[in-house]
Amino acid sequence: MQEKLKQLTLGLADVIFGKEQQIKLALCAMLSRGHLLLEDLPGMGKTTLSHGLAQTLGMSYQRIQFTSDLLPADILGASIFNTKEQKFTFHKGPIFSQMVLADEINRAGPKTQSALLEAMEEGCVSIDSERYTLPSPFFVIATQNPQHQSGTFPLPESQLDRFFMRISLGFPPADAEKLLIKGLGPQRHKPIKPIITCDELQSMQNQVDNVSIANTVVDYILALVTLTRHDRDITHPLSPRASIALAQGAKAWAFLEGRDYVMPEDVQAVFASICEHRVNPHDNYSQASVCDDILRRVKVPL
């Protein structure tokens, strides 16, 4: 299984250059059955990454471009009257696939945003008092332009909490970008072969659940979370959902590291991605610096 994992990472590295850390975090979210929020400027490879993930994991893939006039029905699907059969039939929307890329989610209105987020949370869609279960595994990668760009509806804090992780790709390192410019980068149109199957992914997810976590590490997570609740610089402290996510993320990270036990290092590795978008610091502090600060301040228990 570890072999497959290595192949997977390498395969993805072929798709997107110089972003090993982010690829690992994205895999970590998938192994934890969590959804991913990618926040970056346009053109940084958000779509490439999500596409690559879907392909290598052998999942069905749909991309929804969010615009300000996008309606909930455009995502979920709608019942349309079939004149032949004289009854309504449900036409599934693009959300009914294993991996959904919700591109520029903050360009759509709040109503549409929450339709997607609700589906993410419930794992099913209810239309006309009829429930339609979403496929399994189901994984959403939403991309978001940085908040202050004009014409955006920022996601409210309560909905941000539903994303397991937020990562930003950032600019590629110089030598990677050089290759990209020379056209030696990954070929866009070359089909990517699936490396693992959905079943394998699911068994990996089960293995992650079995990674053991020691009391000291739990104490450490607790200390980190508690600090945000006493800090006057933070208006939104971390919720219990965040602590559970931290533990789960740390397990997945340990699994990716090839271990079956969690170390404090694993918690530190995923802490920023899991917690940055969940805390809400006061004005002059960025979310990133607050999270750094928390890590710096809490002593790792022996």
């Binding site: 036990y261 404090p264 022996l302």
Partner: protein, 645 residues
């Protein structure tokens, strides 16, 4: 937090007022209580406090009430009341933590004034509670995060401070009074300088303790007639104390006074003291009078203790002047009584025969003893008592008897004091209560002063003990007693409880309240030997310094953390590394820290890697170390510490 302090202070002041309730005028008391309740309301409802002007007007009004209701001569009471008023008004004003702290400090003085009036064990315990509450309030105003911490700190501090303070009380040499302060002269006793029993409808109401007598050798045998005052002049209605004070006694023949006792007086503002028969005292502030009585030189309200030596009254001839003095009566009044006396007088030829006639008269003419006599008003009260009501208590019988004796030329005087005393559970001391107040007659039979007590024939049991122990009067007595433990004495267990409490209170009075300079000297000499007694102060200083040092040491203990074996080893290693400044300044995980050590101190590399492996195995992989591995870890850590050091 400040609400807590304010409410606590309200309750404390309510408590103080209750303790002083008997001293303060009712109107003032209720006004101050209302202010306390108002403050309680303000503190808990968060209402705005009254403006300064309003408080000043209130203060002026209260001061007016104070001057109207409190006798200006009672300077101590005046002072205490003004202090309480000022503190309560300040409390009403105090909104900030700082103001409330000031009130608290002031309150430490207020609660001390309670002790001027109340010193019983129970009031002391109550004041002790106030003390705790005050320290908690102080702590809670001081930015402590939780009230629980404030309570813990207060109780911890006091539990150390109280024994130390007690030590100081015992060992720090006592100071004499700096200057004379006015006494709190409002204490009440059952005795009065004027004996006029006829308009009294009920007696024996108070079960307040008057004094305790501790007999040095053996308990004297009853009856105990505690003499306090002589009433030598009859003004037509009442027997009053001699206007001319008795002479101070000179050259006392001490060995002749065979009996001796120690008297523990409860606080009293009265000058008179108590003696059995003819008494003298060696205490410097007691005046020994020529009539065998004792007086306090400085009657202040505090409790008092004096040694008493006593003996039966000796033969003593009366001068002509004295004979005249002790037989004079008003010219007019009470003709029936005079007639009766003359009639009895004709039957007898000397004083003792007359007395016997008088006893018989009381015995056979249907006189009864009661605590609830029929009040007699108007003139010739003695006649009405003798011929009509014929019911009365000691005062009645003593008044009438002395009058009758004088009217037939027998020198006589009324003595007031206490009769009896309760001997608790076979101990060597007597407790004398206000309800033991008594009056009797002394007549001179030509040789010496003799006692005549009509109560002996009317209610013979009264002579053998305290009023509470006389079976005959028990019912009546109880009916007249205020509700107290004594009233429930028919229940056996309650009676037992009462006796136990009484014993505790006795010990309290004797050892705590009565701990004076002389007792201290004796104790110090007994404990330290007479050469070293003077160094007791040094002893106290050393003891306090030692205790505070221990407190400091105890509070320096580091935070307790439950560490596993491997964590302990690691923390030892890190402590050593930190001492040598080898540790990374950043917060690193334990494993990263070990890595850091390994890279920065190459000779540790192999050790660190192994330690890291073992630590990860036991802590994160949760596979316990084998015995061998534990030993290995310990050795590795020790070796590394050596390298670091």
């Amino acid at each position: 937090m400040s609400n807590f302090a304010s409410s606590a202070l309200s309750f404390i002041y309510i408590g103080i007022l209750m303790l002083l309730a008997t001293e303060l005028p009712t109107m003032l008391l209720s006004l101050l209580l209302l202010l306390c309740l108002w403050n309680l309301l303000l503190a808990n409802k968060g209402l705005t406090r009254p403006a300064l002007l309003a408080t000043n007007i209130l203060a002026a009004a209260l001061l007016a009430v104070l001057f109207i209701t409190v006798d200006l001569k009672q300077s101590v009471l005046l002072f205490v009341t003004m202090l309480l008023q000022a503190s309560i008004l300040k409390l009403l004003q105090a909104s900030s933590a700082k103001q409330q702290q000031t009130v608290i400090v002031l309150t430490f003085f207020s609660i001390s004034t309670v002790f001027l009036y109340q010193q019983s064990l129970y009031s002391t315990l109550l004041v002790g509670l106030f003390f705790i509450a005050l320290t908690i309030a102080l702590a809670s105003l001081n930015g402590l995060p939780t009230t629980r911490l404030a309570i813990r700190k207060s109780i911890y501090s006091l539990s150390i401070a109280v024994p130390l303070a007690a030590l100081m009380l015992v060992f720090v040499p006592k100071m004499p009074a700096f200057w004379q302060l006015p006494g709190a002269n409002s204490a009440k006793t059952g005795l009065n300088e004027r004996i006029d029993p006829f308009d009294i409808a009920s007696l024996a109401k108070s079960d307040e303790l008057v004094f305790r007598a501790e007999f040095n050798d053996t308990l004297a045998s009853p009856p105990y007639y505690w003499r306090a005052m002589l009433h030598t002049e009859f003004d037509g209605r009442a027997w009053i104390k001699a206007k001319i004070p008795a002479q101070a006694r000179t050259n006392i023949d001490w060995p002749a006074y065979s009996g001796s006792a120690q008297i523990y007086l409860e606080k009293s503002a009265n000058p008179w003291l108590y003696t059995l028969g003819d008494g003298v005292s060696r205490a410097s502030d007691v005046r020994n009078l020529s009539d065998g009585l004792l007086q306090r030189k400085d009657p202040s309200a505090s409790s008092f203790k004096y040694p008493l030596s006593y003996r039966p009254q000796l033969p003593e001839a009366l001068s002509r002047y004295e004979y005249q003095y002790y037989t004079q009566l008003p010219q007019q009044g009470n003709p029936l009584t005079r007639n009766l006396a003359r009639r009895l007088g004709t039957k007898s030829n000397d004083a003792n025969a007359f007395i016997a006639e008088l006893y018989d008269y009381y015995r056979y003419q249907g006189f009864t003893y009661t605590l609830t006599p029929t009040p007699i008003t108007g003139s010739d009260t003695l006649d009405i008592f003798l011929t009509q009501t014929q019911r009365g208590f000691c005062g009645h019988y003593a008044s009438v008897s002395a009058f009758m004796m004088r009217s037939v030329g027998i020198p006589a005087r009324v003595v007031s004091g206490y009769l009896g005393g309760e001997n608790v559970g076979g101990s060597d001391y007597l407790s004398v209560y206000q309800y033991d107040a008594h009056a009797w007659v002394e007549y001179h039979d030509g040789v010496r002063w003799q006692r005549f007590d009509a109560t002996a024939v009317v209610a013979p049991g009264r002579l053998n003990g305290s009023l509470s122990q006389v079976e005959q009067l028990r019912q009546e007595f109880r009916a007249n007693l205020e509700l107290g433990l004594l009233q429930l004495s028919s229940f056996k267990s309650l009676n037992w409880l009462r006796i136990q409490l009484e014993k505790i209170d006795y010990t309290w009075t004797k050892w705590v309240l009565g701990f004076d300079q002389q007792k201290q000297n004796n104790l110090l000499k007994g404990l330290l030997g007479s050469q070293f007694a003077q160094y007791s102060m040094a002893l106290v200083v050393i003891a306090i310094a030692l205790t505070l040092f221990i407190v400091l040491m105890l509070s320096s203990r580091q935070r307790k953390v439950q560490l596993t074996f491997s964590a302990k080893q690691l923390s030892r290693l890190f402590d050593a590394a930190e001492a040598s400044a080898l540790l990374s300044p950043e917060q690193l995980t334990p494993v990263a820290q070990l890595d850091y050590l390994a890279t920065h101190t190459p000779q540790l590399k192999a050790h660190m890697e192994r330690i890291s492996r073992l630590y990860v195995q036991t802590t994160y992989e949760q596979q316990p170390l084998t015995k061998k591995q534990r030993l290995e870890l310990k050795k590795l850590v020790n070796k590394s510490i050596k390298i670091i050091g």
